[in-house]
Symmetry: C2
Subunit: 542 residues, 2 copies
C-alpha cells in the first residue's frame, strides 16, 4: 500500500496494533483490544476508535473518504428498505441520474451553485488526454434533474411527479473530515418532486420530514427537534428548509439530522418547469403557464455517525436492534477441556437456536470459534455493538434455558428455550425502547429555555441547547454566533480545551414553547432592539 | 438547457416530437406516438426509440451517460433485491468502498490496470484549486479493496471472506456509446471474495455464475450459454473468467451477459493477502504464509439492454413479468358520454380490482385519465412493455369479468372477477414462460455446429453463432477474427450494410457437444495445423 500508512497516520497505527492483537493474543487486554480512551476524556478519539474497532469503517488514502464496512453499510440498507417502502406508498419512484454534470448546467441557478462551487470536484482528463471541457461530479442534483422535469411534465394531470435516487455525491471540503459527519464522498437519497400547488408541495415537505423523524426516533432511537431553518441557514436556492435536529450529549453540540426543502418556484422559473393552467383546460389558451412548486429532500449516512455518537459507550458501539445487521450473537461458555462431548452438545444446541431465531426473522450469528475465549468474544461483539448476547453453557443445556446479556445496560437475564424467539424479540424491543428513553432524557435535560442574554453562553458551556426569543434576522444571528464564540467562564479563557465555537441557529421548532408574536418580548440577542418573532433553538453544532 | 439539444442531436429531436405530441394530439398516429422504424429495418434506431419512448432512459449532455428513468431503474432494483437475498445466503456481506482511487493504488497490479488505463477519468481540480495529485474515479475496485483484505484477514478461520458492493464505475470509452451496453458510467454489483483453497474459490465462481444464469433465464426470460473465456478474452489480471453469453436474434450478435472471475493468487501475492497455514496451527511457525485464492464477479445494467433487444418488438418494449415494475395496467373502455353514471361505476370497479391485485402482491396501475382515449392508452402502455393489460367496460361490468390482452403475443382473453388475482398471476406466469420459450427457440435455431472453415463466415452472415473445434490459441483466435471481418457473400462486398465485424470467441461452453481431446479433430481455423482442444463458441458480438 506504499504511502497508505503514512497518509493515514496514528489512528491507523492504533488500528493495526488492534488488528495484530487478534492474531496472537491469549488474554485480551482492554488497552489492545478495546477502546483506549473514554467518551468523556477524548471524544474525537473515542469516536474514531469505536468506528474503527467496531468495524464500521476503515480509513482510506484519499483524505475525507472512508471505507464503509458491512457493519455500517448494512445499517444503511435496513433504513433504505424501510424508507423505500414508505415513499413508494406516496407515489415516489426511484431512478438514477448521472454523477457527471457540465459546468454550464451546474451554473444554471446562481444562488444555488454559490453554496457549492468551492467544493466541486472536476474531471479534466481521461486516460492521458485532456477533456475539451471539464466536467463536474455532482455535489447535489437539482440542476441535473430539473431540465428533465421541464421536458417530461406535459400536463397538470401528471402531477405531482415524485422522483428519488440513492447515490453518492461529492463535496471536496477542506475542513477537518469526520467519518459519516463530514466526508468528501457521502451516500444519501435525494428526492425531487414537482407539484401544481404550493399547498401540495408544503404538505409533502412535512410528510417527508415526518419520515425523517421516524428514522431517528423509531430506528436509531434518537429524539430530534423538527423545525424550520432561519433564512441564514436554509438550503442554497430554497424558499424554506425544514430540518430535524439531533443532540449529542457528550459534546453538547447539535447536529442537523436531515432536511426537507420547499424550493418554491425558484427553480421552476429558471428551468421552465410549467404546465397549462387547469382552469384554462380545453379553452386552447396555452399562453398562461403555471410554474410548478418543487421540493427536494435528503438524508445521508450521517445518521449512522449520529447513532454512534449518541449511543456508543466506553465498551464500543451500541447499535439499536431495529437497525442492527446482527441483532443477536450466541456464544458458548463454560466448556471444559475435560468433557469433549459437552462441546458437541452445546454447539448442537446453539445451532438449533440459531435456526429457530433465523426462521423467525431475527438476525443472528453464532460465534463457535474455538481459538478464542468467551471473554475475548464478549469484548469483540460488544465493540461491534450487537444489542443482545445469548450465552449457552452446561448449566443452560441442563436447564433448557439461555442466559442473556443486554449491550445497552449490560443487564443479565435468563430465558426459557421453549420461548426463545418470543422472548428474544421482547428483549430486543425493550432495548430499542429504553435506548430511546435514555436519549430522550438526556435531550430533555439539555434543552433550556433562556430569556436572559447573560445566561446564554454559560448555558452553552454547560452543553445545553438554548431556546431563545429571536427576531429571526440574519445580522442578529451572526452577532449571536460571534458573541458566543468564547466561553462565559473567565477562568477558562486561556484553556485550550475551552469551547471556541459560536452558537448557530438550529431551527425554529414547529412546536413553540409559547406564543411570542404580539407580546412585548424582545429578541434575546445583546444589542438587538427588535421584538422577538419566534422561539429559536440555538446551539454549538457540527 | 443551452447546448443540450445540439449535443444530443436528432434522436433528441425525435423524442421531443413524441413528447410534444402527447400534449395536443387527439387521434394518435403511429408515426408520432410509436416507433417510426422497425426492428428489422433499422435496429440501432429501433433500439434507441423503444428505450426513449418506452421511458426507460433519456439522453444526457455528457456523452456516454444516460438518465435511467423509473421504468428501467426499478427493474434493476427488483433484480438487486433477489440477488442480495441469494448472495447473503452464501455469506456475502455488502459494503461500500470510495469511488476515488489514487494513481499509486490503481497502478499496483500492472496487467490489470493495462486493461483500463486508457479509459480512466481523472479528477485534477476542486473548486478553483488544482489538486496536488490527480485522483482517479474507479473503473473497477480490485486494487481499491485488496489492500483492506490484506489488513482484515488475520486467520484462515475467517475464510472465506465475501464482500459485495452495488455502485457505479466509470470507463471513459470513446467507442460509440449505447444505452445500457456501453456507457461511460454504468451500474453494477462487484463481488470480491477470498478463499483458503483453490477448490473453494472455484466452487463459488460457479455458484455465482449460476445466479447470473438465473437472472437471465428466470427473470429476463433469456437463455444464456455458460462457459469459460479463452485466454485472449479473459479479465485483465484473472487466472480464468467464466461468462454467460446471450444472443440477440435481430442482429445475430452475441453479448457477454455477466462474468465471474477466478483470480487465482495473482492479486493475493501482489497485495500480500495471506494467512498462516492451518497445518502449522499452534506450532508457532508463522513464516509459512498461504496466499489466498480470490474471485471477483459482476453483472451490470447491461442486462436491461439485452432484455430490451431480445424481447422488444415494433410496438415498443416487452418487459418480462417477473422484473416489470408495473406488471398489469387496467384501462377503462367503451365509456360513452351519454351515460355519466357508467363512468363512475366502471372507475369504482377498477379501483376495487386494483386494491385486490395490490394486496395480493401484484404490481398494478390503473389508467383512469379522462383526457386520453383507450386507443391512446393501449399504445402508451404497449410502448412501455407492460406485460398484461386488463380492460373494463360496460360489458365486463355486467358480466363480472375482465378482458385481458397479453403484451408479448397480443392474445386476448377473459377472466372472471371472482378469480382475479389467481388468474392474473397465472397469465403473468404464462407470459414469463412463453417469452423464455420463444427466446430459447431463436437461440437454438441460431447456434450452429460448424466443422468446415468454408461454412464459418457464411454462417455468421446468416446471423448464427458458431460452435467450432478450436485449438484455443490466441494467435489463431486473432486470425479467425480477421478472416471473418468481411461477408462471405461476394455480391455483398460493396454493400455498406454488409457485416464488417470479425467473430470473437465468446466462450468455451461448459456443456461441450462432444469429446474433442484425443480425437484427431483439427482446429477449424484456416491455416491452423493444431489439434482442436475444445469446442468454442464464436460469433460477431457487442
Amino acid at each position: 500500500m506504499g504511502d497508505y500508512h503514512a497518509v493515514i497516520g496514528d489512528l491507523q497505527a492504533v488500528h493495526h496494533a488492534f488488528d495484530n492483537s487478534q492474531q496472537t493474543e491469549k488474554a485480551p487486554s482492554a488497552a489492545l483490544n478495546g477502546i483506549d480512551t473514554t467518551k468523556e476524556d477524548d471524544f474525537p478519539r473515542w469516536y474514531q476508535q469505536i468506528l474503527l474497532k467496531g468495524e464500521m469503517i476503515d480509513y482510506y488514502d484519499v483524505s475525507g473518504c472512508y471505507v464503509l464496512r458491512p457493519g455500517s453499510w448494512e445499517i444503511w440498507e435496513i433504513m433504505q428498505e424501510w424508507f423505500n417502502k414508505e415513499i413508494k406508498k406516496m407515489g415516489v419512484r426511484n431512478c438514477s441520474f448521472p454523477m457527471f454534470v457540465t459546468e454550464e448546467v451546474l451554473r444554471k441557478e446562481q444562488s444555488h451553485i454559490e453554496g457549492f462551487s468551492a467544493e466541486v470536484a472536476w474531471v479534466t482528463q481521461s486516460g492521458t488526454s485532456t477533456l475539451e471541457k471539464k466536467i463536474a461530479i455532482r455535489p447535489t442534483s437539482e440542476t441535473i434533474i430539473y431540465p428533465y422535469l421541464a421536458n417530461w411534465i406535459r400536463s397538470y394531470r401528471e402531477l405531482p411527479l415524485r422522483l428519488n435516487q440513492w447515490n453518492s455525491v461529492v463535496r471536496w471540503e477542506f475542513k477537518n473530515p469526520q467519518p459519516f459527519l463530514r466526508s468528501r464522498e457521502f451516500y444519501w437519497q435525494e428526492g425531487h418532486t414537482a407539484h401544481l400547488t404550493s399547498e401540495g408541495a408544503e404538505k409533502e415537505v412535512h410528510q417527508i420530514l415526518d419520515l425523517y423523524c421516524q428514522i431517528y426516533r423509531d430506528f436509531l432511537a434518537i429524539p430530534v427537534v423538527p423545525g424550520r431553518k432561519t433564512d441564514k441557514e436554509k438550503f442554497a436556492g430554497a424558499e424554506y428548509t425544514t430540518t430535524v435536529e439531533a443532540y449529542i450529549p457528550a459534546t453538547g453540540r447539535a447536529i442537523q439530522g436531515a432536511t426537507s426543502h420547499g424550493l418554491g418556484q425558484n427553480f421552476s422559473k429558471m428551468f421552465n418547469i410549467s404546465v397549462e393552467d387547469p382552469k384554462l383546460d380545453g379553452t386552447g389558451d396555452s399562453s398562461q403557464r403555471l410554474f410548478l412548486w418543487q421540493n427536494s429532500w435528503a438524508y445521508s449516512t450521517r445518521v449512522i455517525g449520529v447513532m454512534a455518537m449518541v449511543h456508543g459507550d466506553n465498551k464500543g458501539l451500541v447499535v439499536p436492534p431495529r437497525v442492527a445487521p446482527i441483532q443477536v450473537v450466541i456464544v458458548p461458555v463454560g466448556i471444559t477441556a475435560q468433557v469433549p462431548e459437552e462441546r458437541t452438545d452445546i454447539h448442537e444446541y446453539i445451532k438449533t437456536m440459531q435456526e429457530t431465531l433465523e426462521s423467525d426473522g431475527i438476525r443472528v450469528e453464532a460465534d463457535l470459534r474455538e481459538e478464542h475465549t468467551p471473554g475475548w468474544k464478549f469484548n469483540h461483539w460488544e465493540l461491534k455493538g450487537i444489542p443482545l448476547r445469548l450465552e449457552v453453557g452446561p448449566r443452560e443445556l441442563n436447564e433448557s434455558c439461555i442466559s442473556t446479556s443486554r449491550r445497552d445496560t449490560r443487564e443479565k437475564g435468563r430465558i426459557e428455550l421453549a420461548r426463545l424467539s418470543v422472548d428474544v424479540r421482547a428483549v430486543l424491543e425493550t432495548i430499542q425502547a429504553s435506548m430511546y428513553v435514555r436519549a430522550l432524557e438526556q435531550y430533555r435535560n439539555n434543552v433550556k429555555v433562556i430569556t436572559k442574554w447573560e445566561q446564554f453562553t454559560a448555558a452553552l458551556d454547560r452543553k445545553h441547547l438554548c431556546l431563545i426569543p429571536f427576531c429571526t434576522r440574519e445580522d442578529c444571528e451572526e452577532r449571536i454566533r460571534r458573541l458566543s464564540e468564547r466561553t462565559a467562564d473567565p477562568s477558562m479563557r486561556n484553556d485550550a480545551r475551552a469551547p471556541s465555537m459560536g452558537a448557530k441557529s438550529l431551527c425554529i421548532p414547529f412546536q413553540q414553547p409559547s406564543e411570542l408574536q404580539g407580546t412585548n418580548t424582545k429578541c434575546l440577542a445583546e444589542g438587538c432592539e427588535l421584538m422577538a418573532e419566534k422561539w429559536c433553538l440555538f446551539g454549538r453544532s457540527y
